[in-house]
Symmetry: C2
Amino acid sequence: MVRFFAPAQELQGETLTLTGDAARHGAVLRLKAGELVEVCDGEGTVCTCRVVSSGSNTLSLSVEDRHPSDTEAKVSVTVYMAYSKSDKLEHVIQKATELGAAQIVAFPSARCVARPDERGLEKKLERWQKIAASAAEQSGRGVIPKVTTLKTYADALREASLSDLGILFYEHEEALTLRNALEGKNLHSVSILTGPEGGLEEREVEQARQAGLQVCTLGKRVLRCETAPLCALAAIMYHTGEF
Amino acid sequence: MVRFFAPAQELQGETLTLTGDAARHGAVLRLKAGELVEVCDGEGTVCTCRVVSSGSNTLSLSVEDRHPSDTEAKVSVTVYMAYSKSDKLEHVIQKATELGAAQIVAFPSARCVARPDERGLEKKLERWQKIAASAAEQSGRGVIPKVTTLKTYADALREASLSDLGILFYEHEEALTLRNALEGKNLHSVSILTGPEGGLEEREVEQARQAGLQVCTLGKRVLRCETAPLCALAAIMYHTGEF
């Protein structure tokens, strides 16, 4: 069934009149009266709807059923990624969304070479949010992960430590595996934190420990900054029974 | 320690005289006499060497120690990926190498839109092998995964079925999870098979079952053709105790 996203405020009532992107999307798909489609608010609610009429500016639908999305992960994983070159960050936003991340947060660290300035940030965030929305739509998710940024590394540690489990991945850690950190815990939320191209500094890793994060290895092969969070996310989804 | 690859035939004897890329690499790094470096043959052997002299065309080394690489995965995973757009295939070659794949194999399937012709293939393979070599070097691997291609889908099924476990991932499979397929087995080799942008056809999935492959889900979210093999590979590495 065709599925698309529309703002939550357009999804009230028993008949829906969608405008903007959703209507244009409907027109492109040449939806016909009587067809069934799914409209999702990007916050976890999915409406099964019948097309009443489809024009280039408005798509009229009658709601047949409203239910919570069943494609969301059981455990809420937030991906904290140090600012990296733009294409890498965008890559992680797209892939982490597919893999089921609840939220994606970019933060600065000592060795970050790429960091958007205050003025450029708003545009970047808009672009990043669009990448997440498009990946969510394509992968059939019911929730569009929020993409946000933090001003300091300390902010990232503080926020990550509020999860049931906060993990920082460090290429020089050898003892604590991700499995050790996950096993035997009943987790509802996990935060994972990874460094930029040049890695995290040792004092930053120490700072993370002091903030209550577990410092873990992702194995003996050194992963690129865009590979590490996705590898960890896939493993956590596997561990928590998603596939 | 700086590590680089050199052809196995240059790594014989107690003193090494490297030429070509390795020598140029040494010159770029401004190696000095007395420094320790690692030279790897890309087939699992690592030499710890002391620099005797470094010029732009030759790098002279004395071998201090020769040992098997300790960064290879315990289980040999071969990634069979249907031909996809060039950037996706190259992406998977790079990332699968980082994640520890033993081999990467491209094969045709019914809905493949991109498929190199016979003439272009040799050049492509050379390029793909270079991507694997570069990713192996960067991630500290001792083995450069071989990148190969197969002429038919049936060939891919036949080869994959020779592993201890052959798995095909299919977005319409709901029952068999990767965990179910892996659990309780003592595996030395695993083959994973994924489809192209447009997915595999149902008859192809049936063909895989008949060839003895397990047909598994990667969860409720639909993954892109370049995300699925990497997600599965990360999960298998996690399952087999790599991190």
